[in-house]
Amino acid sequence: MTDEKHALPAPPTEGLFLGKIDEESIYPFPEQDPDEKEIADMTVAAFREWADDNLDSEKIDRDQEIPESVRRQLGELGLLGATVPEEYEGAGFGTTSYCRLVEEMCRRDASLSVFLGAHLSIGAKPLLLYGNPEQKARYLPGVATGETICAFALTEPGSGSDANAMRTTAEWDDAKGVFRLNGNKIWITNGSYAELFSVFAKARGARGNGPGAFIVRRGQKGFSNGPSEHKLGIRGTATTELAFQDVEVAPEDVIGEIGEGFKIALETLETGRLSLGAGCTGGSKECLKMAVEHATERTQFRKTIISFGMIREKLSRMAAHTYGSESAVYLTSGLIDRDHRTLPVEAGYCKVLGSETLWEVVNDTVQVVGGIGYMEEYPYQRSLRDARINLIFEGTNEILRLSGTLEALKEPSHAVTARLKAEKAGLGAEGLEQAMGAIAGQAATVPRWVPEVIAVEGECFAAAVTAFSAKVVDVLRRHRRRILGQQYTLRRLADGAIQLYAMLAVLSRVSTRIAAVGEERSAKEILLARRFIEEAAVRVHHEVEAIETPRDGFDDQLAELLGEEGRYPAPLF
């Protein structure tokens, strides 16, 4: 296992920070295994067909409930067991297949995809990742059929992004041989009807101290859930509070080891995030379709509005950004499947990129359709409301920018530290170069597989990587460990890295496509790739050039001022 891990190529974002593009490991763009692809194709088609006949998203939104019949039918279709291994009655979907399912589901109904995600991506995930064979045999078959709907219970009133502040406890009761769970969890999706909860709590007592993951079943004494919350969007999902009062959990229902709780929670969320990015891609495609439909039908000044530049710009941008985010998601999922690994930084970046792309796409859609976008009887407003949560849950986009970027900075910061030491020791030029080790220190080159037709885009990308990685070294040299607290800078590095990663994915995808079917049949993708890369490169340079600006000082001062005054600080007269 260890050897295998060593043999893996570095995560693709690492190279972007180091200025060295690992062009071999991300080309060709990972294809799905043909058998797996066909199963995924058929599953998506079956869901689509079922949804055409049975899904009333307007009603789900209005009633604030996914009807029991819909949940049951999703179970009958086998979709609720997509990622459960075949030996436990599931379909054993890989990451790409699952992302494709979530994408299609989110495209049709965001509530439904969040219901599925809460059940499979995160609810059952601790069991899938860390459950022992007995636990898996006991619970997973029910999970696969949908009889046992799952939920993931981590967030608490005082513990959101800061999971360590968790107050739910699991006290070991030696006399009874059980853990006693006490505490409250909030905003738990599927809270009203889930049968199995993966609950995180801090264990105390003879069986160990530290965070643990516990299985709690509905019906256990002392467990209860509150009413469903009324939300801005994804109103069909049942989001509730959970209360645990001396809920007794047998040691057999501890997932993994006591002390591993945060690790399990984090790993669960890391893998769950990618499918969220995929769902957002689906949402973006649906919005784009609605916007184009309107723009090609709506006539003003005797012209369809798609002929006007300001509408064209929006539609084109929506399509290109969707292509960028889709490419990033499926490059990531493909690498995860191909190399049997996790890519937490990339998955987080995909969640940020996907959710922000969707938010921008849905906003543009509402703008393109004009007044009807604001009317309740049209679906646009629901898309807008549904899209907003994606920037918040499963790790806020701020937290993901921070955590991913700090992780990706580890390698370059080792190199910079070594270089600074070498400088101090008065080593010559050769020594310095050696000390820089991992950092290229020279211009990044265009990947060899980029074909002539998109050579310009390849150069744009290489130049952006060069500028970005040089800035990474510069920032690390100046701040060293203090970088941990430099959120203005980290935010810009994150945004640069996210754009670079998407550019890399787009280049790999379009180059693979051109190699497979030729330029002529790749014309649409070449256009999308050009549009995406041109803008993304500008964004990267923008972040790099303004990595620290006087505005940062103003922001600090203004935020202080606002904190003190508690309101807008400048009366007009």
């Binding site: 058929m42 279709l77 979709l79």
Partner: protein, 264 residues
Amino acid sequence: MKILVCIKQVPDKDARLVLDDAGRGIVQADLNWEVNESDRYAVETGLRLKQTLGQGEVVVCTLGPDRARKALNTALAMGADRGIHLSDPDYRGGDPMTVARVLAAVARSEQAELVLCGTRSDDEGYGQTPILLAGLLDRPAVFLTMGVEVQDGSLKVIRELEAGRQEESIVPLPAVLAIQSGIYEVRYTSLKGIMAAKRKKVTQPTPTELGLSSDQIGGTGQRIEVLSMAPPEAGGHCEFIEADKPDVAARELVEKLRREAKVI
């Protein structure tokens, strides 16, 4: 009872069709394909009959290139037991008669008691194959079948007539039925069914194995020659119905749709 269901893979309904350079066919690259709609009802009918009888085998068969395997897999995922993929290049091209010859050979070699087809394909739409097939097999055929059940070793069949009328008849086995779309709910393929389909057997008999010579089938055997295809000409006719009250307007609209447009 052994039931043979003949299905066809056609471009999906939302596909944007483009004529090829010769103007005699459509450009097939980059199209999405699906099982012809009425053929899905044929598969569903076969599966229901097997379910009701509690025994039997549903064999699903398609003629087409490699991509058509997907259509078979869809039928297998719905619950058909086994597949026959007529993928040999010699089968390709042709007209309804050459297709019917191949299907007849399959029906004979399978000794299928009942052959089910959809009424017509959503792409070429000849609507001839099931009838030609029955003729070649010298079996009774029913077109536009709305319902079927097995009764004392024969079939009780309901056939659609004009204007919503129906005809009920007894058809002896073996027989060929062309199934109409929309007669009941076609089951959804479940993920379990999709996984199971991968393990089901699909054979690819050659023309020789079916006892067919190349001049009977495919492009060589075809008699109908397509000269050209053309998209429908754009055009339309708009008429405003003037009436004081909505119910009067509605009545007039219904009348016009029935008498003039003949669409209801």
